[in-house]
């Protein structure tokens, strides 16, 4: 599709009136076209005014709804939301023999079956497990073991092109007021990669090239901006992930 044809779609895009196939084309184009991003922003503002102008005035959301939202944050700490965006693709050395890949795949398939009983986040989990299986089946993937010098706690991160999953964690039990949080050492600073919940499994993570070490700590529910407790497990990232 030409620039002009894509530009023509910006209005309907802003109104969520595109079919998925065309929406994807626009999404891809927007990533590289500041002019179209600016036009879309203007359309979105108009759409917001339309949206803002409907309903009763002043519109009030039910009080108990906030309580529900707040409670859901406690029950379910934020899924890992990368604070950094992935960079370009990099080629990775083949590190793991294919036999190990097959074994890991079987493990993941087993995990998949086991996950089905988890009614809470079945779909998400299955998607994540499928993504893990996809990474493991790619011979270019890398694995990083997070371990502890003093305990047997451990976890594994599988990586492909800066995207990865935390799998097979064996970590201490946490109290209801705690969550695991993942950190990376990046240019000598510790940055949060996100909150992992108290029972992390197949959590998606995104890495940047200058990150060198991954660490997990136990933090108050909801996470913290900087680690407040000792590192439980850690592992060095391969150069140039």
């Amino acid at each position: 599709m030409t620039h002009n044809e894509l530009e023509e779609l910006l209005g309907v895009y802003a109104l969520d009136a595109l079919d998925d196939d065309e929406r994807q084309l626009v999404d891809e184009h927007l990533a590289s076209c500041p002019r179209c991003r600016a036009e879309l922003a203007a359309h979105r503002e108009v759409a917001a005014l339309l949206g803002n102008a409907v309903g009763e005035s002043p519109a009030v959301a039910p009080d108990e709804l906030w309580d529900r939202i707040s409670a859901s944050l406690l029950d379910e700490p934020p899924a890992l939301s990368p604070l950094v965006r992935p960079r370009g693709r990099r080629s990775l050395a083949l590190l793991v023999p294919l036999g190990a890949v097959a074994a890991a795949l079987i493990l993941v398939v087993g995990l998949l079956a086991a996950k089905v009983v988890n009614l809470d986040h079945q779909v998400t989990s299955l998607n994540q497990q499928a993504s893990v299986a996809k990474i493991l089946s790619n011979p270019s993937h890398q694995t990083v073991q997070l371990t502890s010098a003093t305990t047997s706690w451990h976890a594994t991160v599988v990586l492909l092109d800066g995207q990865g999953y935390l799998i097979n964690p064996s970590m201490p039990a946490l109290s209801r007021s705690q969550t695991f949080q993942l950190w990376a050492l990046s240019r000598n600073k510790i940055v949060s990669l996100g909150v992992l919940s108290s029972n992390p499994s197949a959590v998606a993570i995104q890495l940047e090239p200058h990150m060198t070490v991954l660490m997990i700590t136990a933090e108050p529910l909801g996470g913290t901006p900087v680690p407040t407790t000792p590192v439980l497990v850690r592992g060095n990232l391969p150069v140039g992930v």
């Binding site: 023509e8 922003a41 203007a42 759409a47 949206g51 803002n52 959301a61 944050l73 996470g223």
Partner: protein, 194 residues
């Protein structure tokens, strides 16, 4: 709540949310949830479904605060866009589509369905109504059908009996015209809303 939050700009609020401050999310909810709920309710009709959308939108803001880019618009328009997208997804699911069609069929049978009247009823903000109403019908109708009815532009083309290409350019030119008119009418376009 720490005192500075109630005076914080939306951009600073988003930063505080990214640092896992739930009181910042609460403040964002206080400022914008009413508006988000109003839109979701208008689109989905059912209170429970609208609440679900509001919950999804604010939980997403908590989980992925970096998706909101203050340079691309206000927090409210971001949240409204999120809510609109989610509501439209629901409207397009088969079940609710059938329900909506039945409801609309009933309405048509009972009172003579009049989109113009309905839109007039639902748009409360006078200025926006005036500007939308001031658009040529050829631009206003496709915008209403897409935004308030959740139709894709291809469906809009079928409903109006117009070529798809015509519909998408008219929606685009209508939005541009509204933007121009709203900007000259002194409505704070692009700025943050209290």
């Amino acid at each position: 709540m720490r005192p500075e939050l109630s005076n914080a700009s939306d951009a600073n609020l988003a930063l505080a949310i990214a640092r896992y401050r739930e009181d910042a999310l609460a403040e964002a909810y206080r400022r914008h949830a009413g508006s988000v709920f109003g839109l979701a309710r208008r689109l989905l009709h059912e209170k429970a479904a609208a609440e679900e959308v509001v919950q999804e939108v604010f939980v997403r803001l908590w989980n992925a605060p970096d998706r909101f880019d203050p340079e691309r618009g206000s927090l409210r328009s971001y949240l409204l866009a999120q809510a609109h997208g989610r509501a439209v997804d629901q409207m397009r699911s088969e079940l609710s589509r059938r329900r909506r069609e039945e409801r609309e069929a009933r309405k048509t049978a009972q009172s003579g369905y009049d989109l113009e009247h309905e839109v007039g009823d639902m748009i409360v903000a006078d200025q926006v109504r005036e500007v939308l109403g001031g658009l040529p019908d050829t631009e206003r109708k496709p915008i209403e059908l897409a935004y308030f009815r959740g139709h894709t532009y291809r469906e809009v083309a079928t409903i109006l009996g117009e070529p798809e290409g015509t519909v998408k350019s008219r929606i685009r030119s209508g939005l541009k015209r509204m933007h121009g008119l709203l900007a000259t009418s002194g409505l704070g376009l692009g700025g943050e809303q209290p």
